[in-house]
């Protein structure tokens, strides 16, 4: 079957990727939606495995109606042949080539390289005229003594396991750290039958009062916060603000955490430590964008965020980005950005200049939500002196088991002033996760900003796959290639 419509590859099936897919498919573009999960939704709308046969998955979710609209629109476009949804594809690289056309003009051609999951051994390639990166983000956790004890996990991880597999890590949990994610995690675990002994938030409630105007500009968000507060009360979850976890206790398994109050400078106040028995600590200090694919494509970043213009275009022709990868801002912002990116890509792939008025409502909510999250960012902050908690024997790099002491020796003794030098001297960030987990902490201990680490591939790739990655190119020159090339 021939199809003359331009072809857009959307990477990531979370809120941004789904909104983009639906918007582009409705406006004359063929879309291949590529995602690592078995079902669409991303982290925010993560769905229980289909075999679990959940009759009421919405009990684990917020903003369910927005999800239903996206899910149904996606299904319609798949049915109509406008969208191909490729699940279980773990993208490790997006390549951009310039193809010389008959008329002499160059045009963009992209190859998306993925591994077929969950084993991630077999390669899959997708060819497209443009790509839209909606790769989301992941959680940041600053280290403290005991954070490697089993039973300590990220707040988002506890939520992902609950939403995706309907499993909980234990019977009694403490939810701790900072940020808006902690509220749904605490209420979600409580609703699923876990006793939540405390919600430990390092932010100061007074900081919210100081930002009232910016925060009240989003009445929906204020109401959401009030609903969480009511749920915490109903589940009798103790809320400890301006507190932090200073230590997790246990040998093979978590037994308790010690929490303590913080002073106005972010230091632990002496004499305030208390022990809370628990078998689970769900902890998080905010989010970091996934930018590996954008970096390899050469997209300009602003700090850790992919830089985009008003149309959500990166500075690389043919590459759009939307959602958390362009800056952490939550699901509603991702939906707005995804919609704009999808409309822009559809127009430009069809050779027309888009009129921004077609996405004016989305642009308006994008502006407001970015302001809202900028204000939230000033309120939700990890303890200013979190590095004080990192003792010399606290493991900082979980993969390579590099301690705080080794990193301090590299910084103070050997003069390392950036994450890369610390890595070369200590191996911190050289392991399986490639520094995704320890990067923010190593940057903090080295006294520098967290910068993207320019990983050539977004995930580990079997050497055999890498060796054969170019082979399809030769075949392509011989025959007209299909868009999806199974290996």
């Amino acid at each position: 079957m021939t199809d003359d419509r331009p072809h857009l590859a959307v990477i990531g099936a979370g809120p941004a990727g789904l909104a983009a897919t639906v918007a582009a498919a409705a406006h004359g573009v063929r879309v291949t939606l590529i995602d690592s999960a078995a079902r669409a939704g991303g982290q925010f709308y993560r769905q229980p495995a289909i075999e679990l046969n959940a009759g009421r998955p919405q009990a684990l979710h917020h903003q369910w109606r927005a999800w239903e609209r996206l899910r149904d629109a996606l299904a319609r476009h798949v049915e109509a042949g406008c969208v191909t949804h490729l699940t279980d594809r773990h993208v490790w690289l997006v390549e951009r080539q310039l193809e010389r056309q008959a008329g002499g003009a160059d045009r963009n051609a992209f190859t998306v390289h993925a591994l077929l999951g969950p084993e991630q051994q077999d390669p899959v390639e997708v060819r497209a005229d443009a790509v839209l990166l909606a790769t989301g983000g992941y959680e940041k956790v600053f280290p403290f003594p005991g954070w490697t004890v089993p039973g300590v996990l990220t707040a988002g991880g506890a939520q992902a396991m609950l939403k995706g597999t309907l499993a909980v890590p234990g019977r009694t949990a403490v939810v701790a750290g900072t940020g808006p994610l902690l509220l749904p995690v605490a209420t979600g675990l409580a609703a699923a039958g876990v006793e939540v002994a405390a919600l430990v938030e390092s932010a100061d409630p007074k900081a919210f009062a100081r930002r009232t105007r910016a925060l009240a500009a989003q009445p929906g968000k204020v109401a959401e916060g009030a609903r969480y507060a009511a749920q915490l009360l109903r589940h009798r979850v103790k809320l400890l603000t301006r507190h932090t976890v200073v230590q997790a206790h246990g040998d093979d398994r978590l037994e308790a955490v010690t929490v303590a109050a913080l002073d106005t400078d972010g230091r632990v106040r002496p004499g305030t430590a208390r022990r809370i028995a628990c078998d689970t600590l769900a902890v998080g200090h905010g989010m970091v964008p996934h930018t590996d694919l954008a970096e390899t494509l050469g997209c300009r970043l602003d700090g850790t965020d992919v830089q985009v213009d008003d149309e959500q275009r990166t500075d690389v022709p043919g590459v759009w980005a939307a959602g958390e990868t362009t800056g952490i801002g939550g699901a509603a912002l991702s939906l707005a950005e995804g919609h704009i990116a999808g409309r822009s890509a559809a127009a430009r792939l069809n050779g027309t200049e888009p009129d921004p008025r077609i996405w004016a409502p989305a642009a308006k909510s994008r502006t407001k939500l970015r302001e809202f999250f900028a204000a939230l960012d000033t309120v939700y902050a990890p303890p200013a002196r979190w590095t004080d908690l990192v003792t010399d024997d606290t493991v900082v790099c979980r993969c390579e088991e590099v301690t705080g002491g080794a990193i301090r020796e590299a910084v103070d003794g050997l003069g390392a002033g950036d994450v890369r030098t610390v890595k070369l001297l200590t191996r911190a960030g050289m392991g399986w996760c490639q520094g995704r987990m320890c990067g923010p902490a190593v940057a903090g201990l080295a006294g520098c900003e967290l910068t993207p680490s320019r990983r050539p591939f977004a995930r580990p790739v079997p050497l055999g796959v890498l060796a054969r990655a170019g082979e399809a190119e030769a075949d392509r020159s011989a025959a007209a290639p299909p868009d999806v090339l199974p290996d």
């Binding site: 495995a49 988002g156 506890a158 699923a192 993969c399 088991e401």
Partner: protein
């Protein structure tokens, strides 16, 4: 007490069994290896290469590689991503998983 399965009104197909280090444990269709192990009360299934310390789920979404486990003699599988299948032989992974 509510369970997450009750909360989501889940009615999975019949349970099946897998083994963890030879011990038979129950699993539900659709569960990942990590979910099966959690449900059996197990929170660690790997020891680190250096200090031999126990590890289990940390990020829960496939980013951190802390939950590596050996499934059917294949080491370094991410328990948070890999679905459990009937008869799977799950083994605690020591170090790189290639030593034995």
């Amino acid at each position: 007490m509510n369970s997450p399965l009750d909360l989501a009104d889940a009615h999975p197909g019949p349970a099946f069994t897998v083994t963890l280090d030879g011990r038979v444990i129950e699993a539900l269709p659709g569960q990942t290896v990590a979910a099966v192990l959690w449900t059996a009360g197990v929170t660690s299934w790997r020891t680190t290469r250096g200090a031999g310390r126990p590890r289990g789920i940390f990020c829960g979404i496939g980013v951190c590689y802390d939950c590596l486990v050996t499934v059917n003699d294949r080491p370094n599988q991410r328990a948070c991503l890999v679905p459990a299948h009937p008869g799977d032989a799950i083994r605690t992974q020591e170090g790189t998983g290639h030593d034995d």
